[in-house]
């Protein structure tokens, strides 16, 4: 069975988080990344809860200083860039896991982005629910780069509460209607986010070094 994962939740209270976790288990999610304070966060068997930070730097300098301060304190580091310059810097930095190009001012994905992107582009469903027309326009223009596999893509819910959660197949449908192959779309809500979270967990636990090499100790 695919390890479905939602890479962005932002619940406003521990009670909401508990409700969301119970629902996520029913929906088949195996891991979720939560933004915000996780002190006293509830746990639900079968769903791994990991920490996420979403950076909103004003410029490239601020992006780098935030990354050096916060990278190894969170399982998932995402960036919402205010400009194309910051977006390009975030995309090529290997300390960044995902970049939300579909912010208040959507930044188009083009061949320049495809040339440098190491981080995945994240498509939050919450933006599509808030501003469907603008978001769909961005998605349709950008999808050709996801189709070609030149730019890695993931879809998250960006949910603040249970009502904003959707099943993995529904998150995948966002990419499929834009013309991305079903298999690529399914990976965008399973293998890609799950592997990002899993590898960063291992790094935080000291079992893997930042470049992705396993730490092996002799017994």
């Amino acid at each position: 069975m695919r390890p479905y994962a939602d890479i962005w939740w932002r619940p406003t209270s521990p009670d909401l988080l508990r409700e969301m976790l119970v629902l996520a288990r029913e929906m088949g999610y195996r891991a979720v990344a939560v933004e915000g304070d996780l002190t006293g966060a509830p746990s639900v068997e079968g769903v791994e809860v990991l920490r996420r930070v979403t950076l909103r730097p004003k410029d490239v300098g601020q992006l780098y200083s935030q990354l050096s301060r916060l990278r190894w304190r969170y399982h998932v580091v995402s960036v919402i860039p205010p400009s194309r310059e910051v977006a390009m810097a975030a995309l090529r930095d290997n300390r960044v896991d995902t970049v939300v190009m579909l912010g208040d001012e959507p930044i188009p994905v083009d061949h320049h982005v495809a040339e440098v992107a190491r981080a995945a582009v994240e498509v939050p469903l919450s933006r599509l629910l808030e501003e469907p027309e603008r978001s769909l326009s961005w998605l349709l223009r950008s999808a050709r780069w996801f189709r070609r596999g030149r730019v890695r893509v993931t879809v998250s819910s960006g949910a603040c509460g249970p009502i904003e959660l959707r099943r993995p197949v529904q998150l995948a449908s966002v990419l499929i209607v834009a013309g991305v192959e079903p298999e690529v779309a399914r990976r965008a809500v399973s293998d890609l986010p799950y592997n990002v979270m899993r590898e960063n967990s291992l790094r935080l636990a000291g079992l893997m070094d930042p470049s992705g090499v396993w730490e092996v100790t002799e017994r």
Partner: protein, 105 residues
């Protein structure tokens, strides 16, 4: 040639917030808004079962993903915040009935 169809089991969340017919109307509106009148007609969207919080809709096989996407973008029905969860997609009504009979409430 007979058109291939798909049956979708859609769960309205929270249960009892709106009736099945209204949820189906919201789904139709969403398909129309996203894909236009032609998209709605070519999806051949029909309500098969509308009682309770689980509805069964039928659509043309090649439009299944469009309908799933349209259901994903429904967030409000009759001024109430709701979500339409696509819990099962099947090629035959018999399988859908089997799925519903096995509960999965």
């Amino acid at each position: 040639m007979r058109r291939k169809r798909r049956y979708l089991v859609i769960s309205v969340r929270p249960p009892d917030s709106v009736d099945g017919q209204k949820a189906f109307e919201a789904l139709k509106d969403s398909v129309r808004k996203l894909f236009g009148e032609v998209g709605l007609l070519s999806s051949d969207l029909r309500l098969v079962r509308g009682e309770g919080h689980r509805i069964v809709v039928r659509c043309s096989s090649d439009q299944t993903w469009n309908v799933v996407f349209a259901a994903t973008l429904v967030s409000e029905v009759d001024g109430k915040k709701v979500a339409l969860d696509v819990v099962r997609v099947s090629g035959t009504l018999r399988k859908v009935k089997g799925f519903l009979a096995g509960d999965h409430s």
